[in-house]
């Protein structure tokens, strides 16, 4: 990740520099698109949301401040919010809750497609190392919160656990992941 350069590009976008926007899109769209596809599980819909998100980047670039974090962080915030808004707008998140309820008794870490698994493990040692840092319960809670946009209460009800337990799992998992995440590149090879 090259934060200063991304920030420079974003500042140029704020000055309505179309070439800078195109460059920033080339740099960030791939990981952002992967996130949106993971949230919505629909490639076609994810492309719509990707377009909406980057349009907002163009329109609101002047609101970006370095203090808010990296441009990647800022764009992810925008894209994830749009994806989750869409997921919740037609109550599709309820299906995610039902799926999570099905996990209550699931002890097998290889279980269900896409819900509790944060990433396919074929992506490389960096991601495998990140995931190895946290246990299955922490992975599930983080994935349900981050990728499925569920609230602490919804996760707690779905997994039949106290809200405090869910919050603690998320907090603990994030703390363990933090140093590994900081070393991850935006786009893994392959």
């Amino acid at each position: 990740m090259n934060a200063p350069e991304d920030a420079t590009l974003l500042q140029a976008v704020a000055r309505r520099d179309e070439a800078a926007f195109a460059e920033l899109y080339d740099r960030l769209s791939r990981p952002v698109f992967s996130l949106i596809v993971r949230v919505l599980r629909s490639r076609a819909e994810a492309e719509e949301v990707l377009q909406e998100a980057f349009w907002q980047v163009w329109e609101r670039a002047r609101d970006y401040r370095v203090e808010l974090g990296s441009p990647f962080c800022w764009v992810v915030t925008i894209a994830r919010r749009k994806a989750i808004d869409r997921l919740r707008a037609n109550a599709r998140h309820l299906r995610r809750i039902e799926e999570a309820q099905g996990l209550r008794t699931e002890e097998d870490s290889t279980a269900p497609a896409g819900l509790d698994v944060l990433a396919a493990d074929e992506r490389g040692t960096a991601v495998r190392a990140a995931l190895a840092k946290i246990n299955l319960e922490e992975r599930r809670a983080i994935a349900l919160a981050f990728f499925d946009g569920l609230t602490h209460d919804e996760i707690a009800r779905a997994l039949d656990q106290p809200v405090g337990t869910i919050k603690a799992r998320i907090r603990r998992g994030l703390l363990k992941l933090k140093p590994v995440l900081a070393r991850l590149r935006q786009v893994e090879p392959g």
Binding site: S29, W55, F72
Partner: protein, 204 residues
Amino acid sequence: MSVKKTPRIRRATSPSCAFGDPLDESTARLALLAPVAPAPSPAVKEALLARIRASQGGAGSPSRPGIERSSHSGRLGEPAPPWAAWRFGSLAGNEGWVRLPFPGVRMREISVDAARDTALVYIEMEPGAIFPDHDHSSAERGIVLTGDFEMGGRLLRAGEFYEAAAGTRHERIASPAGCTGLLWVGAAAWGGWRKAMAAAAAQR
């Protein structure tokens, strides 16, 4: 506009979502753990760049009237891409909304093709709003995008559509929960109706 603006839908993800906005740096980087998806279609980027050019060449930039290519160095002189003449619009703002003589209903003309005698119109009804009896000189097709409305003795919900033949009379249309929808009507019929509505609204 005499019709009250429909309140914006409350943001569903905040503040109750487990991760609020804005995300902190390490939380945002969880995105990197998503399974890598194949690259998005190049059409997404093309559409964005076309939209940017259209917006820069639009009303906000009087020195470049109409839709033009960006003035970025290295691009001038190239043949105009197919999307250079596309038209982009938004439901935001007050332009294009039709004044209606009855409350709680807003209609916005999206496109009119006189040559093919078609018009695409967006309609928005507040909960409980009523669209009075009216005649159709052209055929009308409609689809409910959100909410519901009563028509032809049934309650149509989001995703449901209808087709009404030309020359038929429509009884009053009510929307118990409020709705948004798209209507395809004849361009000439729409133009006449629109003028009549504006005149009736002006008299009120």
